[in-house]
Amino acid sequence: MAKECCCGGVRLIYACSGASDVGKLADSAARELANSNCGKMTCLAAVGAHLSGFVESAKGATENITIDGCSVACARKILDHIGVNSKSYVLTDMGYKKGETPVTKKTVDEIVKKISSEPAKNSKKSDKRNNSCC
């Protein structure tokens, strides 16, 4: 976990970290993006548990990025539930098949590269922002 103090422009990254291969890939990609200073990875489970520090941090972030393994989109929906819009990336929408995708460094790097360059889908249709992650 990391912390920003008054610097503005804080981007938080959440992964669904689901049980499937694409869930694990979402987790690994989020960690790699955080390591690349694309943003700060934080705990989706804590937001789901309504822990106030995590919820208020999501509300205070300049941008929240969710990476979901599949179209169930748990990460995006958890942020939706607390009224926070996110830039949403869903790996199955990006061509990765659930149950058929090997969890390798090569695949993780490929996902990170795609996320860094592909536009995200915003969780709320009214939000017209459509920039790539990094």
Partner: protein, 77 residues
Amino acid sequence: MKIEILGTGCPKCKKLTELAEKAVKDTGISAEISKVDKINDIMNYGVMITPALVIDGKVKVSGRIPSEEEIKNWIKK
């Protein structure tokens, strides 16, 4: 009531402290205001962005300075 200001001492954290002190004074509510400036203590609250304001253990805001009215509303509840 226990009010904690989370931050490492930047101007925004100081401003939030001033606002909290004024809100407590204006409302006349008995409250203890303290500063939390150690990173590990701040992270124990799950706060990723400072300044943050905690009232009786609950994080009310993170990453922005709330208005004085907001703070007053929180401490009146």
